[in-house]
């Protein structure tokens, strides 16, 4: 019972399946060319709905690139995922977040906050989010995780860290409220199709288990209305 979805910023995919058949018409899909990473992380098998840990999402977020200013020098290093460097003191270089945090903790670099992590920009995004009914495009597909990681480890390099934390939390709350509203109307009107754009992986993760579980239950209760279609069909172990 795979839950396939791409962590892309543009849309999310929900498959609600119960047993071995699709839930009555709840099919949402869209595609963007980002590989379906989550399938390999999701937990195991029938009949429970698969879950994804927030720590896994954070792990994926650490692949994003961020600019740092090192205080050491090192030649170019060749890693499996790509080349990094060369590192020269005082010159900015792009590295993945996992490396940036590690260097910061060893006090070997200074982290430059990403462009979107700025009070005015975030305020604009927050106002836009509050005005619109649909989801607005996010500054980064992992804005929540990056904010938490960078502000926890490198708040001395980021100006107005507390305000940024509050603003990002506001944006998150607004988006989650919209998501809950839309899930609620989806269920209460028993619609068959929904398309949500601009959701991030972390937000999808919050409702995934509950929503899919409920859709499964609804499917089974709905199939009670047509008796005889289900008699004799029990889950096999």
């Amino acid at each position: 019972m795979p839950i396939v979805h791409n962590g892309a910023v543009t849309s999310c995919v929900f498959f609600a399946v119960s047993g071995n058949s699709y839930s009555a018409g709840t099919f949402i899909s869209s595609t963007v060319g980002v590989p379906a990473l989550t399938h390999s992380f999701c937990k195991q098998n029938n009949p429970a709905v698969q879950t994804m840990d927030p720590s896994e999402v954070e792990f994926l977020a650490e692949k994003e690139m961020v600019k740092i200013i090192p205080n050491f020098s090192l030649d170019k290093i060749y890693l499996i995922g790509g080349d990094l460097g060369p590192f020269n003191p005082g010159l900015p270089v792009d590295v993945p977040v996992w490396l940036a945090l590690n260097l910061k903790q060893r006090q070997k670099c200074r982290i430059v906050p990403p462009e979107w992590m700025d009070v005015e920009k975030l305020e604009e995004i927050r106002e836009l989010e509050r005005k619109e009914d649909a989801f607005t495009p996010v500054p980064s597909p992992y804005y929540m995780e990056l904010t938490k990681l960078l502000l926890n480890h490198a708040s001395d390099n980021i100006p107005k860290a507390d305000e940024i934390r509050t603003l990002v939390k506001d944006i998150w709350d607004t988006r989650i409220a919209k998501l809950r509203l839309s899930a609620d109307s989806f269920i209460s009107q028993q619609e068959a199709h929904a398309k949500l754009d601009n959701l991030t992986l972390m937000e999808i993760n919050t409702t995934r288990t509950f929503l899919l579980d409920s859709l499964n239950c609804m499917y089974k209760l709905r199939s009670n209305l047509q008796p005889g279609s289900n008699k004799g069909k029990a889950l096999d172990y």
């Binding site: 937990k43 195991q44 009949p47 429970a48 709905v49 879950t51 840990d53 927030p54 720590s55 896994e56 954070e58 929540m144 995780e145 938490k148 939390k169 998150w172 989650i176 809950r180 899930a183 609620d184 269920i187 209460s188 028993q190 993760n205 919050t206 409702t207 288990t209 509950f210 579980d213 409920s214 499964n216 239950c217 609804m218 089974k220 209760l221 709905r222 199939s223 009670n224 209305l225 008796p227 289900n230 008699k231 004799g232 069909k233 029990a234 889950l235 172990y237």
Partner: protein
């Protein structure tokens, strides 16, 4: 990330129960009031109130669900099962008015499960019962969703005590997730 060595089998929500599910096994202990349609000779000991050796035709007794399901057969008319009060007309109106108000734990902790099993017994009210179950579930969805997402640090016993077993299980499956959310 934790992996489970013991993976509990969830209850089958529809008309079929899962054989290995503990919830379904407990559900089948619920008693239903039935009326026997034929005599049961020498089984008088089953009925606690009477002292007769046989059970006469037309006796009203309480049978557990597993026994009633096994004995029920449309053609041979062994027992006929009454729909419990919660699924009848009066309560159905209450549920259609406002499903969130009712304390489902008190109504029998297996409201949805027992309701689905009742559909086996071919009563004329079956379509209405099935429809009412679905509408109640949908109506309570919002409340359960809110409590599952917002109450991870607080004592949820007040909210949880009004929920039926199925809803509680869905709540607890989300609970561990909430504990690991990053900073809010």
């Amino acid at each position: 990330m934790d992996s489970q060595a013991y993976l509990p089998v969830p209850p089958g929500v529809g008309m079929e129960e899962n054989f290995f599910s503990l919830d379904d096994i407990l559900l089948s202990h619920e008693r239903l009031s039935c009326r026997t349609e034929c005599a049961f000779p020498r089984l008088g000991f089953l009925e606690k109130s009477g002292d007769t050796r046989d059970i006469a035709e037309g006796t009203k007794m309480e049978l557990p669900l597993w026994l009633a399901k096994g004995l029920y057969e449309r053609k041979r008319r062994v027992v006929s099962v009454e729909v419990p009060k919660v699924y009848r007309e009066g309560w159905r109106t209450v549920f259609s008015a406002d499903p969130t108000v009712v304390d489902l734990q008190k109504m029998g902790p297996y409201y949805y499960g027992l309701g689905s099993q009742m559909l086996h017994f071919d009563s004329p009210e079956n379509p209405d019962v099935a429809q009412s179950l679905l509408q109640t579930f949908i109506g309570r969805f919002r409340r359960t969703m809110d409590s599952s997402q917002n109450a991870y640090n607080e004592d949820t016993s007040v909210l949880v005590e009004r929920l039926d077993c199925l809803e509680r299980q869905r709540l607890s499956s989300c609970k561990h997730f909430l504990l690991s959310l990053p900073g809010g």
